[in-house]
C-alpha cells in the first residue's frame, strides 16, 4: 500500500468527468520531439513506419 501513493491520489480524481482527447481524427499529429529511454532525441516523423505508428500515451511507467 505504501508503495503506491500516486495511484491512490489519482483514483480520487477519477470522479471528475470531462476528459480531453487531443487532436481529432483527420488532423495532423504535432511533430513532437522527445528523448527516448536511451537518451536519444526522437521526433514523431522519424519514428513513423511504412503505414504509420500507434502512439500510446500513458500516465507513468513508475507507480
Amino acid at each position: 500500500m505504501t508503495k503506491r501513493p500516486f495511484a491512490l491520489i489519482t483514483f480520487a480524481f477519477a470522479a471528475f468527468a470531462g476528459i480531453h482527447t487531443g487532436p481529432e481524427i483527420g488532423a495532423k499529429m504535432p511533430d513532437f520531439q522527445a528523448l527516448d529511454q536511451d537518451g536519444k532525441a526522437r521526433t514523431l516523423t522519424s519514428l513513423l513506419g511504412p503505414k504509420g505508428a500507434i502512439v500510446v500515451v500513458y500516465r507513468s511507467a513508475d507507480w
Binding site: 476528459i19 522527445a34 528523448l35 514523431l44 504509420g52 500513458y58
Partner: protein
C-alpha cells in the same frame, strides 16, 4: 507488457509503436530493461508534448507529485502523421489493450484460447483478444459463427422473426460493451414476398468487455487465479422451407488474472513533486 507482446503484429501491419509519458529517460530505461521493451518510450518530464497535444489532466492540483499526467489514450497515425483513429476512455483507470485494437480495427485474431461450441444448426468458436488480463483493461471477445449449408439466422432489426442475440451474464468482475454486428445480407422470401436481413455461412461478432476493479475480480478467481466470463447466444435458424426451434448456446471465456505491478524504479530515480 501487453504492448510489447503484440509488437510483432503491429510490425506486420507496418506500424511502429511509440510510448509517451512524463517519466524521465532514466525511469524509462529501467522500466524498459525490466519489461523487455524494444520500442521507443519517449520522455516528456515537463509534460510539454502532453500540453502540445492538449491532453494534460488539469484536474490534478499543481502541487501534486503527479501533476503533469495526461489523460491516457492511444492514437493511430498514418505514414504522414495524420490521426486515423484514437482510443480514450472516460474513466482513465480503463484502457484499450493493444490486442483489442488489433482485433477490432485490423481483424488480427489471437492464436490461442479457442473454445468451440456446437449448436444444432450453427457452430461457434469463441476467443478473446487477451488471455491474461488486468483490472481496467478493455479487451475484445470474438465469436466466429458457422451455419450449416442453406441455413440462415436473422440479424438485429428484423421484424417478425427472432434475431440473433448475444447477451452477457451480469457480473461486477467485468462490464459489457455493445456487440459489433456485420452488415447483414438481405434475403428475399418469395413464398411470403418479404425481404429480411440475415446472416449465412460464416460470420463474426465481436464485443468488448472492460475488466472490473481488483476488489471485484479477486472473488471470481479460482485456485489458479483464473476467472470465467459467461454469456449466451440465442438464435433461430431457418432454411428455405422452415424455421427450427430457437436455440440457446452457452458461451464461456477463461482468463488468467494478473494483479497490480507494484515494482518501481530505485528510490533515487523516482519522480518528486516539483
Amino acid at each position: 507488457m501487453e504492448l510489447q507482446q503484440n509488437a510483432g503484429e503491429f510490425q506486420k501491419l507496418g506500424l511502429t509503436i511509440v510510448g509517451l509519458s512524463y517519466d524521465t529517460p532514466a525511469i524509462l530505461h529501467d522500466f524498459a530493461e525490466r519489461k523487455g521493451i524494444h520500442f521507443p518510450l519517449l520522455s516528456d518530464p515537463d509534460s510539454k508534448v502532453i500540453r502540445q497535444l492538449g491532453i494534460l489532466n488539469e484536474e490534478v492540483p499543481k502541487d501534486s507529485p503527479v501533476f503533469g499526467i495526461p489523460y491516457p489514450g492511444t492514437y493511430i497515425v498514418d505514414e504522414k502523421g495524420v490521426i486515423v483513429a484514437k482510443y480514450f476512455e472516460d474513466d482513465f483507470k480503463q484502457r484499450y489493450t493493444a490486442a483489442d485494437i488489433l482485433v477490432q480495427r485490423y481483424g488480427v485474431m489471437p492464436e490461442s484460447g479457442k473454445t468451440e461450441v456446437q449448436g444444432k444448426q450453427l457452430s461457434a468458436v469463441a476467443y478473446a483478444s487477451n488471455s491474461i488480463v488486468r483490472t481496467g483493461q478493455r479487451i475484445a471477445l470474438v465469436l466466429d459463427l458457422t451455419l450449416k449449408p442453406k441455413m440462415h439466422v436473422y440479424a438485429p432489426g428484423v421484424e417478425g422473426y427472432i434475431p440473433i442475440d448475444w447477451t452477457m451474464n451480469d457480473s461486477e468482475a467485468w462490464t459489457t460493451h455493445d456487440v459489433a454486428y456485420p452488415k447483414p445480407e438481405i434475403l428475399f422470401l418469395p413464398a411470403i414476398e418479404e425481404k429480411v436481413p440475415v446472416y449465412k455461412d460464416t460470420f463474426r461478432l465481436t464485443r468488448d468487455i472492460t475488466i472490473g476493479p481488483d476488489a471485484k475480480v479477486k472473488p471470481a478467481l479460482n485456485a489458479e487465479g483464473k476467472f470465467t466470463v459467461e454469456g449466451t447466444l440465442r438464435y433461430q435458424a431457418c432454411d428455405d422451407r422452415l424455421c427450427y426451434i430457437p436455440q440457446v448456446l452457452k458461451l464461456t471465456w477463461s482468463f488468467q488474472y494478473e494483479g497490480f505491478d507494484r515494482q518501481r524504479v530505485p528510490e533515487a530515480l523516482q519522480r518528486k513533486a516539483r
